[in-house]
Amino acid sequence: MNTIKRFAGMVWILMGPAAIFYLIKTASEEITKKPVLDTKIQWIVFVIIFIPIAIGLMIFGWFALKGAYDRLPKSSADLED
């Protein structure tokens, strides 16, 4: 199971930039198609919000790849150590 967790980590790392690329591509296409203020704000908000989340997904993938999720704490109290 831990091997699958680590292997899947690579998938999450790759999904981050793929999501950012798709987001920016779609945003620029939609703004070009309908260059009104509403469309611009809407897509700028999407890009601003989702880029940090995509980076978070890459960090999650990195942790998984490095085995940080191989063994999770049994209690929240363990996190204080």
């Binding site: 509403d38 919000i49 960090i59 942790f63 940080a68 929240s76 996190l79």
Partner: protein, 500 residues
Amino acid sequence: MILASSVGTLIEWYDFYIFGSLATVIASQFFPKTNPTAALLSTLATFAAGFIVRPFGALVFGRLGDLIGRKYTFMLTLIIMGGSTFAIGLIPSYETIGVFAPILVLVLRLLQGLALGGEYGGAATYVAEHAPADRRGYFTSWIQTTATLGLLLSLGIILITRHSLDSDLSTSISKFNDWGWRIPFLVSIILVAISIYIRLKMKESPLFSKLKTEGKTSVNPLKESFAHKGNLKMVLLALFGATMGQGVVWYTGQFYAQSFIENVCKIDFEQSRTILIWAIVFATPLFVVFGKWSDKVGRKWIMLVGMLLAIFTYRPLFHQLFSISDTTNKKEQVTRNEINTKLIPISNTGNSIRKVTSTRYFKEGIRLIEEKTDTLYAEAARVTLKPDIKTSKLLNDENYRMMILIVFIMIVYVTMVYGPIAAFLVELFPTKIRYTSMSLPYHIGNGVFGGLTPFIATLLTTIYTGDKLVGLYYPIIIAGVCLFIGALYIVNRKDPNINN
């Protein structure tokens, strides 16, 4: 204690939802399309409050809750939310004070988003820290009912107000659109006052009090939550393995379903809302059932099975909603069709407003109503260039009940993913940084991934116009990724000891 916490949280959700439910009326009062600044502020009010400010509120108030305590922090969020909501109801319209009106609305809406970002984590943490270890899922599930009940309360108060302003329904609706919309906002102050009174009598969380007495509270909750790898990995797991999927299932089952019924199926305004109201009424007890069950079998699989069912059944369920209302495949009873014309003279002009209402009957019990409004000019050669045409469908009892059943099923999925999630989040993080750590993934999952569901789903239908159900790919894909991550990485545990 559960009731005292839940009432306040319910009122905060109510306050947050009435703005969304009255968006059209508010737009006409404060954000005229003719003024570009007002239109810009309108878009910002819609997007910024729901999606940017909520996670920010989670950080601000989460930190405060871990530093000074749960009780005073979620009291503060309640006051900010209630005060902002009440104030929105008092703002003069754009016609009276010009651009200041939309600016004030935007500021107050941002405060609402900020307050909501702080409220939920506080209430869930507070209740969980009072709950017996083996009943944490049950206790916190009452908090979980509040988001849905807040939506129910907002829909109910809006419908009642729309009907109560005059004995004639159309006059009552007209009065509501003119000034009556303010009532649901103003009512909030009474609800908030009651809730503040109740919360003032509450005691601080025993776990937080213990930490404070021992001098063990966090000095920098943000740093400890997000800069320490051990805790950050749990925050990321909570987001990508649970709250992200929960958010899209929550918003698809309630908001997108309602939007789909009203805008795609074209069901009458009141029927579309009462369908949601009945489905919520029947499904809400299941939040508590699944919360309680999670105390026995763990949180993980109840949430993930809810996501799995949503992924595999959303398309057939929405297809069924559409086909119930689709008149193209139904037999028309032409002999029963009616056309009514009403002329309302416009004083001193010789012109009249003409309203033509045509009703078409279908054998399967659906009525298709088209209202066409234009101006009948005194000069015979002059015609209205673009008449206003509104189409709606009225369902018979059988179809109406069928739609309630379908929405009910979708809300059952909501209760599965949402009922146990407060206990799940609380148990992931230690007491001293619990408020901060659980609030952020919750508000990104619920506010950003979930809150964007109606927008993204509708956007997809405008890009890929061939498939009316294409919007569902957004919640299906997000829930699918979340399900995979959750199944692989989350441990199905019930933490008996969060007391350290």
